[in-house]
Symmetry: C2
Subunit: 453 residues, 2 copies
């Protein structure tokens, strides 16, 4: 059997992030102030983010240099390997070639440190002492806790309660890195208390946890807020993934026909897809790009493209995105990292432009794909990227039916070492799929703010 792993040397690690805003055929709609409904300026974001990240959020420059100290930390696990899934191909008996970029090699076990490290770095540069954030599945919280430990910053994490309960070892990992973890909704913020007053048994949502983390950051001068996905600068930082994949495939002499990523807020998806999409927008090779979301949180496939709040308590600006409404609390599925009512504005924008094909998958099929992957490739995927695995397998089987060989690339954005309860529940038949009725979706969308975009 031939080589299965493709590496780059550290010299070949990207020295700049790729900003797709430079290549978009239409610019992103502006972000609006929640009080005035007018476009916001950098000053409006200053209570939340340090200046360097605000600049990155709105930058139109194509390449943005990665600071030397961030590169040094990246080098602990980057460049990450690109794998050819030869055993999976054999098992499926497909003529397709399947490649996956494996981001589980980072110390926190996912792609999230790619942005946690620069976010901590720029905050530290700005004199910030404490970072607040939310986490769903816990991958983002672990990554920020890791970055905080390395850069000597306090970290306070509001963890969605259902994930906090499902994954005791995830918050233990954050504690081990020195972070404080609070199950959300909590009594520590007025946003949390308001939810608990109405729904004492609330299992939480990313939208609620964001409200809590933002509230604390705004009220404390020494604190700033960090987000693990959705925002432009977060997606920007993840483009090291796709840039490396491009270089790795170039070395093999290959190029993807199809690129697949799972989407919650959109950061791992954008990370792998945007460098290829940018190349296409600049006149390069065509490529089909698929964004896979959970059917239990069908933002891209059943939501509206409209202005909405990023959080439940309406503390954030209004952004134009695919959304199910900021009051939407998705089913407590195991892919906690994909349970967000909205979607990154950049991802929404390219879906709107027809450059990306959205798809929804139910969790039972995804876990089945995850088990198949573990038993062939040997790596246990986190529940989130099982959505990408499922779509990759389906595409490969379509190639088999059609008798065509295509090159499929997907992002295996994290391992499932902290998600074994999900696999236990799946194998014991305790999981179910959930399909929202038209009425449920319509009710959720009825709450959208009346803003003309």
């Amino acid at each position: 059997m031939d080589t299965v792993k493709y590496l780059l040397t550290e010299d070949q690690m990207p020295a700049a992030w790729y900003n797709i805003q430079a290549d978009l055929p239409e610019p992103l709609p502006p972000v609006l102030h929640p009080a005035t409904g007018k476009p916001i300026g950098p000053a409006d974001l200053e209570p939340l983010f340090p200046p360097a990240l605000i600049m990155q959020e709105v930058s139109q420059e194509r390449m943005i240099e990665i600071p030397e100290e961030v590169q040094t930390i990246y080098r602990q696990w980057r460049p990450s390997p690109l794998y050819r899934a030869r055993r999976l191909e054999q098992f499926l008996d497909t003529p397709a070639k399947i490649y996956y970029k494996y981001e589980g090699v980072s110390p926190a076990g996912s792609h999230k440190p790619n942005t946690a490290v620069p976010q901590a770095y720029y905050n530290k540069q700005a004199g910030v002492k404490r970072l607040t954030t939310e986490t769903g599945a816990g991958q983002w919280g672990s990554a920020l806790a890791f970055a905080g430990a390395l850069l000597d910053l306090e970290v306070l994490v509001f963890m969605v309660k259902v994930s906090y309960r499902q994954k005791p070892y995830r918050h233990a990992l954050m504690n081990t890195y020195g972070a404080r973890v609070v199950p959300s909704p909590s009594e520590e913020t007025s946003a949390g208390r308001a939810i608990l007053a109405e729904h004492p048994d609330s299992t939480g949502s990313l939208g609620i946890a964001i409200s809590e983390a933002v509230e604390v950051a705004v009220q404390d001068e020494q604190s700033k807020y960090c987000l693990g996905s959705v925002l432009n600068h977060v997606l920007l930082h993840q483009t090291v993934v796709g840039q490396e994949a491009l270089a790795q495939l170039e070395q093999v002499g290959d190029y993807p026909d199809v690129i697949i990523g799972c989407t919650g807020g959109g950061s791992n998806f954008a990370g792998i897809a945007f460098p290829f999409l940018g190349a296409k927008l600049r006149g390069g090779r065509d490529v089909r790009i698929i964004a896979v979301e959970p059917a239990a949180c069908p933002t891209l496939t059943r939501g509206l493209y409209a202005y909405d709040y990023g959080d439940t308590a309406h503390l954030t600006p209004l952004v134009k995105m695919h959304t199910l409404g900021s009051g939407f609390v998705p089913e407590g599925i195991h892919a906690g990292g994909l349970r967000y009512h909205g979607m990154g504005p950049l991802v929404s924008h390219v879906v709107r432009l027809g450059l990306v094909e959205p798809r929804a998958e139910h969790q039972l099929g995804c876990f089945e794909a995850g088990l198949t992957f573990a038993r062939t490739e040997g790596i246990l995927p986190a529940p989130e990227p099982t959505h990408a695995v499922k779509a990759a397998i389906d595409e490969a089987l379509r190639c088999k039916e059609a008798g065509t060989s295509k090159t499929i690339l997907f992002n295996l954005c994290g391992h499932g070492h902290f998600d074994l309860q999900a696999y236990i529940d799946y194998q014991a038949g305790r999981l179910r799929d959930y399909e929202y009725s038209q009425e449920e979706v319509a009710m959720a969308l009825a709450g959208l703010p009346a803003v003309d975009g």
Copy 2:
């Protein structure tokens, strides 16, 4: 900050294992048949192991070729990275240079797949259908389950009961790879039933679990037994670790003054140390080598060097090794992978020859070292290698006191993603250290078989 990670290309991966038996100043004492007390021959081992592994067990050849199919699977994660622990050095403010080889990058999360894969391979070549084994902490069981999945073999794991309870997600991982996991002592074997009849609340031990796995293998023609440490061929397979470290340090232009590994049965220790020890025995550079064991299972530091059984039910041959007696059930400490009453004969032999310095450490100090490591280097060590981390930190601090710069190399043989309960218990102050009295040790040793070696 300079580079922290040193990689090799796949071409530089060792193509042969290093067999220290070729370079020993005195040969290993023979293995004896339990019934006759006479040296055993290959035929005596055939019920347990396939011919290729029996040959490796007794081989005196220096280099033993790694089969192409095994190399292909190794390449999924090998060569593994060598890290310079610059952040830890800074934190300790030591003039010492600390390097660590990181084996947690394997899909099973430890060094164990280095031997699980060839063991599964040679068994498959011999027509075996099912592998039986025991596991303590679960790292070995996970590794064999992984290898079984890739090579399409059934796997049955007897897991020490205390670990089975402490680490539910470890056996879930094995299930995910398709293995069956039974808490030991169990009702499935006469060895297990005998223990349970006498001690219904037995938390188990590696010695008991070995008896169960051996019993099943001997009784079923389609099954063979696999061991994750102790035996010569197992230690042999692990030498890819030290060979890579040698090549990686050579690229940097460095050479260790001190090499450190934790020891249970001795396999990760031998893996990193033997290639350097072999070079020294062939007239190469001197190097101090430290084997760190838990004070709660002080085989090398308080046991006897004597003939003993490898298991509790006395189904295995008699081997000369450091032992606390096959009836010894060590305290239920969290470093389950180090709770073995004996020690690999090769490791015992080189300790006996004065080539290796044994040391015992208590678990509280080890967990403290593990936390320091996680917060500086970002990687959470499994409880077992925290023993090596502790010794490395102590050596580095000694360098600081003495004002000398030494090069320290240790084996970080696995991550702690499945060991977070241990870190939770440690941080909550629920762990304790245990020191055996002279009487307890003497009583355990009194049960040693009367064999002249």
